[in-house]
Subunit: 282 residues, 2 copies
């Protein structure tokens, strides 16, 4: 994955505004802030597994990461989660002020679509990519998940509601990332398998987050541990306990890897990635 990370980081840098104005700096600060690049990795790796030209999928991969970063910037704002720290560093609005963070998020969300349009791929493919990414990011996806999250605040939610929220809030964009990789390779037939992989990975990812919130240290996480409990937030761990949650992650990881059997091509990296996500420490 390290090769891939370098390629993604260089490509991202090339697409971001290079101005010295405060919003350009805020954008570079937030995108450059040590993200794991999980989503763009998935786009590139699905493209590769499907036999596509990875370099052509880079605009799609970077667009997904821009959407992810914008969502973190807006989530951290005082009117939302009011988080002062992100990956162990001051959040965008703490570093650059509230208005500039709002604008940096807006600019990144917009830039994602501008970047998609730069792909040297068949125009019909890019129109589909715009549609998939917008629907994953907007009201029927990530923003919809935020809306549910806000509505859940201050009341007890069921495990089912929690899963429905997470499917939109984090799952939709992970799924879009995988789909865009198949699309970039011209392999729409691989999409159902990518969807299954992404669905399992997305929920597993969230459960691991909840487990780490209880079991990790602040140093490793880059944010305070135990924040879910403090905020009286319902999580997979509060519903099922740590052991059962770990078992579920393990099952989901197996299912994700099994889904890869449907794809002709070398999916070993994607399988290894699912394992690594299960065992991650931050």
């Amino acid at each position: 994955m390290n090769d891939c990370l370098d390629i993604i980081n260089s490509a991202l840098e090339a697409y971001l505004p290079d101005g010295e104005d405060v919003v350009s700096r805020a954008i570079r600060y937030s995108v450059g802030n040590g993200g794991k690049r999980i989503r763009p990795y998935l786009t590139l790796e699905f493209c590769r597994a499907c036999g596509g030209d990875v370099s052509r999928a880079l605009p799609y991969a970077c667009a997904v990461e821009m959407i992810h970063t914008y969502s973190l910037i807006h989530d951290d704002l005082p009117c939302m989660d009011d988080d002062d720290l992100r990956r162990g560093k001051p959040s965008c609005h703490v570093e650059f002020g509230y208005a500039n963070a709002l604008l940096a998020g807006d600019a990144l969300l917009t830039l994602a679509f501008e970047t998609l349009a730069k792909a040297e791929l068949p125009p019909q493919t890019t129109v589909s990519a715009v549609s998939i990414l917008a629907s994953a990011a907007g009201w029927s996806g990530m923003v919809g998940g935020q809306v549910m999250d806000l509505a859940n605040e201050g009341r007890r939610v069921t495990a089912r509601e929690l899963e429905a929220t997470d499917r939109l809030k984090t799952g939709a964009l992970i799924k879009a990332a995988c789909r865009l990789g198949c699309l970039a390779a011209g392999r729409e037939d691989a999409v159902p398998f990518a969807d299954e992989y992404a669905d399992c990975l997305g929920i597993a990812f969230q459960i691991v987050d909840d487990i780490l919130d209880v079991t990790s240290s602040a140093d490793l996480l880059g944010k305070p541990v135990g924040s879910d409990e403090q905020n009286e937030k319902s999580t997979y761990v509060t519903f099922y306990g740590i052991e059962e949650s770990r078992r579920t992650v393990s099952e989901l990881t197996s299912r994700a890897k099994k889904a890869l059997d449907g794809i002709e091509g070398d999916t070993s990296s994607l399988a290894a990635f699912a394992d690594a996500m299960e065992n991650r420490k931050n």
Copy 2:
């Protein structure tokens, strides 16, 4: 223009989320809040003048209006202009709360691109439309104008800086609206003339706004008059006075109409529209 308004409003309604959740309601409230629909009108009318099928341009027209509406929602937020009133009614965040207004803006911005992708036009045309709209809305356009506006706060700007800010803040999206109309008609050759028309109209529009802020009544404007003076904001009127500003608007309107000569087809509505914009009372 009234026929056009009905068509735009029906199309917009069909594209907006129809949920009963607070963000869907906030989106419908803000889009439905009596906007003049100047930008989508320009898209449709340029399409018509260029001999295109107006119904196919509707997704483009609606996408531009969504971008415009999102920008108003985010501009009104407490961390930006902190405006409680928009078109004589409570701003989105006053009606639905800060977080929901933020999310409604994010969702609308995203929906704009999803809507573009729905156009039944050649995919290459839609990829160009995505690129044009994103670049007009983002850091190199409208958001860039906001950044300059924030940087101008609390200091005296020159007339040149004011015009540069307005060109991005309001001009870029008006230009995109006109361009998308030409594009939808498959007439890229008309774009330079549309650009000249839009440039003149955009600046004229802003100057008329500044004049109305001094000369109109709160009832007509739907917001307090004299707010620019109160905020010690530099405007065309503070630089040139009302008479000179009016003369400039008149010159710009003539230039806008002259640009239409470059377009084969019936541009009489676009000429009449430029006149109406010059003489508007709100």
